[in-house]
Structures are given as C-alpha cells and as structure tokens.
C-alpha cells in the first residue's frame, strides 16, 4: 500500500528554502488524508543540520541526499534510490528550476506521472488530485493519474500553495541517502561562481512584493519602490523589461521566464501586465496596480487600479503607511 507523501526539501546557503517548510506542511496534509506520513528528501547546503527541524512543520522523516549547493539534478541518483525504497503515493516538488529538474529526472528514471505546476493538491479516496491553471491561466484543469499508473505521482507545487504550520515542536527522524556513484548527472559541475548585486532578495519568501516595470524608468525609480517594499516588510520584483534594461537583477524578474510568485500582496508600478508577466503573479491574493495608462492590461486583473504618476503616488503611499504604522 503506497500512502506516504514525499517532498523535496531545498536548502541553500545553509538554510531551508521557504518551499521546504511549505511542502513539509503540504505533505503532512496529504498524508493525513492518505493514511501515511510525510517524508522529506533534503538537498543543498545546511540540509544535514536543518533536516530534523522540518518536523516542526509536519515531516516525520527526512532523507538527506547531499549537503552542498550544486544543481539539484546531480542528486537524482540518491533521490531515485530513496523514492524507489519508499511506498509513496505522491512526491511534492517546488516549482523552482532546481525542483523541476530533480522532479523531471525522477519522472524519466522511474516512469512516473507528472503534474503541475499546481495551485492545489489533495488526496481524494486514496488518489492524488491536482488543480492547475493552464494556457496562460485561461483554463483551470483538475487532473489525476490514470488507473494503475506507477507511484508516486510527481507534483510540482507553486509557492504559497501550502502555508507552513508554525509552532510545532516535532523533530523529524533523519537518515542519510544512499550515495549512488557513477550517475551521469554528476558529470555536470559548477566550474565558476560569481556573486551578484548584494540587494538580491529571495522573492519566494516575500509575503509582499512591490514590482516595477518599464514605467519605473531606471534605478532611481526602483529606489522609490524599495522604500515602499521596506515599509511593507516586502521585497522588490520586476518585469522582464526592467531586468533587461539592467535596472535590477534577473533574480528579481517575475514572469514566464523569471520567478512564479504568489504573495499575499502584489503591487505593480509602471507594469503594463503583459501575459508573460501575468503568468508569474496571477495567483497573488491581492493585486494593486499603479500606472499612468488608464487602459493597461494589468487593469483587467488587478483588484485595485490606481491611474496616476507612480513617481508621486509611490512616495506618498510610503509616507502614508509609515505614518499609520507610527514610524517617523
């Protein structure tokens, strides 16, 4: 009987990614419905030391695949061995480049059904069921594995699909994954590393994102957005146009070829809302747009649309929020 729920727990730069906490809780939720337990497959630097603490978010057991920052797919041999040894119904993977690559290797190595990126996953009558926005968000589809499909089902999960359980005191049992030598994936090696702009924040972890586009005009404009993000306790993001212009690091690009984000609040300033950007933020809970153009496409899917000059409105809003929060 396959009823455990596996999840990929990404670590980097010594600590767990927010996705690891979200998926630990998500896996525990699915496991409660399937009658199994949540089991993490952890990789990246900090995995050994941080694995047990995933128990506080729902994991019962964590297998550490490796404790260094390198392309996740290079852990595929150990991951496949751990998946093969499990009796799991599903494997939840973060919809990040590394999460996708490792999930993809498992699909190819073990002939597994693949879903996602999904905005919801659940277990219904012992079967995995997922919900996905496809075709640029124009259709919502529900999908399941075919009868008799191999397990586990591999499910790519969007950020903020699950909310990490807090306040738990559990400790996950930690084991070390089998080191599988000779995997072809290991032939890919990092030969050079370069540090970028120190201001690069992790968009996956932000509950509030203030994003700027072409209309922001340059680095000075982004300084205004940074002030607003700071007073809201959030991070700055950007459209591809702003990243291509060199005003901001590519790590902060949101959209089809950047990050897919799902913050509680997204504020877009000087962003027209082209489909390529929309697919990266359309699942944000609240969308506020500030744009000089009263007919920009973002007006069609924003919850609140402010027509006006961002160079005046953004600083005024920063000031107003700071005043209400009782700051200087």
């Amino acid at each position: 009987m396959s009823n455990d729920i596996l999840f990929l727990a990404e670590f980097a730069v010594g600590r767990p990614a927010r996705s690891a906490l979200e998926l630990a809780t998500g896996a525990a939720e699915l496991a409660a419905a399937s009658g199994g337990t949540a089991v993490g497959l952890a990789y990246g630097s900090g995995a050994t030391g941080g694995a047990a603490a995933l128990g506080a978010h729902g994991a019962k057991h964590v297998v550490v695949l490796g404790d260094e920052d390198r392309p996740a797919i290079t852990f595929a041999g150990a991951a496949a061995a751990a998946v093969g040894a499990s009796a799991a119904l599903a494997l939840l993977a973060p919809a990040t480049p590394n999460g996708r690559d490792l999930a993809a290797a498992l699909v190819g190595l073990l002939d597994l059904p693949a879903f996602g990126p999904v905005r919801a996953a659940r277990v219904v009558d012992g079967v995995v069921e997922t919900e996905q926005a496809t075709l640029q968000g124009s259709v919502i589809t529900t999908a399941r594995p075919v009868d008799g499909a191999p397990t586990p089902s591999v499910v790519l999960v969007l950020p903020n699909t699950f909310t990490p359980a807090e306040g738990g005191t559990g400790t996950a049992e930690v084991t070390t994954g089998a080191d599988v030598g000779g995997s072809p994936f290991g032939k890919a090696k990092v030969v050079e590393s370069h540090e970028a702009d120190a201001r690069v924040a992790n968009l996956d972890e932000a509950n509030v994102i203030v994003a700027g586009g072409r209309g922001v005009g340059g680095e000075e404009g982004f300084a205004l957005l940074r002030d607003l993000a700071e007073v809201l306790g959030g991070a700055v993001g950007a459209s591809r146009a702003a990243a291509d212009a060199g005003w901001i690091a590519y790590q902060l690009q949101i959209g089809q070829t950047g990050k897919v984000v799902k913050p509680q609040l997204y504020i877009g300033a000087g962003i027209s809302g082209a489909i390529q950007h929309k697919v990266g933020m359309q699942t944000a809970e609240h969308v506020v747009a500030i744009n000089r153009d009263r007919d920009a496409p973002i007006g069609e899917f924003a919850d609140l649309y402010v027509v006006g000059d961002l160079f005046q409105i953004v600083p005024a809003l920063t000031e107003e929020i700071r005043r209400r929060k009782g700051g200087a």
């Binding site: 059904p113 919502i140 290991g186 890919a188 090696k189 590393s193 590519y250 489909i275 649309y305 107003e320």
Partner: protein, 260 residues
C-alpha cells in the same frame, strides 16, 4: 559538433482555445506557432554554427502532422534538416510520454547537444528536458542564459540564488536555454525559400523503436475536469485624484484587508 533543437508547436499566445470531448486541447482549431521559448534555443544553436562552435543543426518535434509547419518555420531561420515524430498513439501525450519519445528519437539522431527551450507556453511544467536526460543517461545543463562549447564540453551560465554560476559537462549533453541568450532572428525571404528544399523526415513510433503498448495510451495522467477560472470581483479604480489623496485611499484599501 551536431545540435538537435527540440521544438514544440503550441497555440498562439492569446488565441481562442477549444477543448475536445475528452478535455484535451483541440489543437486543430487554433492558430499554431513555434513555442516562443523554443525560438531562443533555435537562436542559440544557430549562433553556435555562426561562430564555428557547431557544424549542423537538426530540428526535432513530436506532434500531429501539422507540426511540420513549425519545423519548416524553424528551417527558414537556419539549420539543416528536421524530423517529425508523429503517430496516432501520441495524441494527448503527457510529459512522461513526450520524454520517452524524444529520448528514443534522440538516441537515433545521436547529437552532441540536445537543446530545448526552458518551458512551453501551453504546459509550463519544464519537466521534459530533465526526463529526457534521465532516460538517455546524460548530464543536464538547464536554464542557460548563455551556452558555450569547446574542447568536448558544453558550459552554461545559470542564475544562482546570489549571482550566477558557469556549469560544465562533457558532451553529449541535454541543455536548455532561457530568453536571455539573445533575441531570435527573423526568417529572411531567402531562408523561407531555402527551407522548402531542406529535408524533413516523418518518423513513426516504430521508426524509433518505441512500442506503442509501453506508452499506456500516451499518458500516465488524465484531466478529469476543465473549467474557466473563478470570477474575480470587478477591479476597483482610483483616478483623477491628487497623489496624496490616491495614497490615502490605497492605504485605506490595504488596511481594510488587514494588509497593513
């Protein structure tokens, strides 16, 4: 040094889409294009030829017969020849089945680099490249903002959490590139004429040695429901007011939703 670029024909961005009775996209009813992100892979391959880093470019696609149009369009941009894998058993193929088929076709073509776009416009799972690499037992170099080849190895420049890395693997490899590799070229009139004479082969599952029976009907997944997105409440608008007034009203709106 031979490159095979895998391309997918997808419905045009923003095109009106229809579904068949079994909830699959009706691909015959919509305007079809080369998946826009695949065009960056094509561009990267052609740049490697231009710079002398590669000798030949072949395009590979899996799809219905009309996907040959996408291959002709790619050939008009440049490159040498193309292969379409088409088979009735592949209608509705999922990512797993697509990877099985592409991997088998690539085994036959045996390129030094199998190159793909980073995602497809209509599915966005980005799982096919890694699954193909796994099936072929090759390293994967993914999400390259740049691809370079020399001395029997390929390297990509890839964003990291705090900057970027160069990642290298010995050939042969499977690689994917992002839209940062440079804007795709347009097909010239001369290129369009030349494309008509370039070889385009059609292969069946039998030709690539895949038994249709092992494909389980082309998918390990099935769509059980398909519907329009939930209706959102209409957009509230603030306009024709001074910046300070607009800021106050936005702050009120945020406060009412406990966002500040």
């Amino acid at each position: 040094m031979k490159i095979v670029v895998c391309i997918k024909q997808v419905p045009a961005t923003g095109a009106d889409k229809r579904y068949t009775d079994d909830l699959r996209l009706d691909r015959s009813s919509v305007e079809a294009i080369i998946n826009p992100l695949d065009e960056y892979a094509i561009e990267q391959a052609l740049r490697l030829v231009d710079s002398g880093g590669a000798d030949a470019v072949t395009y590979l696609s899996m799809g219905p017969e009309q996907a040959a149009e996408a291959l002709r369009r790619a050939l008009a941009m440049g490159g040498d020849d193309a292969v379409l894998v088409t088979d009735p058993a592949l209608a509705g193929a999922d990512e797993w089945a697509t990877a099985v088929v592409l991997a088998a076709a690539l085994d036959k073509l045996a390129p030094d680099i199998a190159l793909m776009g980073m995602a497809s416009d209509d599915a966005r799972g980005s799982l096919v490249p890694g699954a193909v690499a796994a099936r072929r037992g090759l390293p994967l170099l993914s999400y390259g903002a740049e691809l370079a080849v020399d001395d029997g190895a390929a390297r990509i420049r890839r964003l990291s959490a705090t900057g970027f890395d160069w990642i290298e693997a010995p050939l042969p490899v499977v690689a994917t590139v992002t839209d940062q590799v440079g804007e795709p070229r347009y097909a010239s009139l001369k290129g369009i004429m030349a494309a008509k004479r370039k070889p385009l082969e059609t292969w069946s599952l039998e030709d690539i040695g895949v038994d249709a029976g092992t494909l389980r009907g082309g998918a390990l997944t099935r769509v059980t429901d398909s519907r329009p997105p939930e209706d959102k409440p209409p957009t509230e608008r603030i306009e024709n007011v001074a910046a300070v007034e607009a800021a106050t009203r936005v702050a009120d709106w945020l406060a009412a939703r406990k966002l500040i």
